[in-house]
Amino acid sequence: MSSESKSYSDNELVALFQEGRAEYAFNMIVLKYQERLYWHIRKIVISHDDADDVVQNTLLKAWKGLELFRSDAQLYTWLYRIATNEALTFLNSKKKRIFIPIFSEEHDLSQVLESDPYFQGDEAEKKFQKVLLKLPEKQRLVFNMKYFDDMKYEDIAEVLNTSVGALKASYHHAVKKIEKYLTHD
């Protein structure tokens, strides 16, 4: 199945979708990008159940938007942008709904990390993940996309709608903070 999806470029898949083979083309797109989108979202929302909800909403939005998608943009950065926005919107609405205001988002996500049955990292990895949660939202996003997904700054800039220079500065600050937290804690 995944070899079938590799035979189409993103532009071909979009063209197939817009030419009337929407379900087939969309299935190919999901197979091609589902894991990358899922892990991108999971790193933001931490819990599997939340990531599952958000990835489905992301793909639902992609389905609705693909009809008008123009091929001058990159499909995967467009999908990443939807996923990022959905994940951040999810966190904000969850914060308003459930979280007690005296605790920070970092504290709340740390609790989620502790209670998530699908987190099976050792103590060192848990510590590293908690350090990432201490980062400001934008720095955490940039660090995740650069460090874990090895994305180009140009692509991250397209996803986050910001400049490459600002991203480089954000990543640099994030790395410095992580090093500081890991050496001092």
């Binding site: 489905q56 699908y118 990895e125 874990f148 890991l182 050496t183």
Partner: protein
Amino acid sequence: MQEDDDILKKPQGKYPKESFKVPDNYFDYLPGRVLNKIKNEEQVIKERKSIFVLIKPQLALAASFIALFMLTYAGFSILIPDRDKNDELSQSEIYAELESELYNIDENSLYEMVYNTNEPSKEILNDLSREEIIEYLNSESSVDDILLTEF
């Protein structure tokens, strides 16, 4: 310390799959679940659209009735002046009107009014002679005083 450095130097792209897990076969079922969700959502949209299409003629009819009523009302409002507003009297004007009416009442009409309408008074009046009544009326200072004390 060394361990922390090792974490930061992890091969890119592998983490966090090593520590974050997903349920078995999660990615095998995800495309099907997403397509089901899309189909369900489209079904809901279709149902909403079909309900709208169904009630569209009635909505159009109701809207045209409302429009017709508004136009008629607006037409009448422009063509017929508002009589109520013109006829409106201030409180002082009402008092002045009543006062002038009061002075127009002569003694005979007052006697007629009391005799014809006030039932308990009628019984009393029947016991009195005409001369006694006239004497009573003459003894009072004015018609105003009589009206004020009797009514």
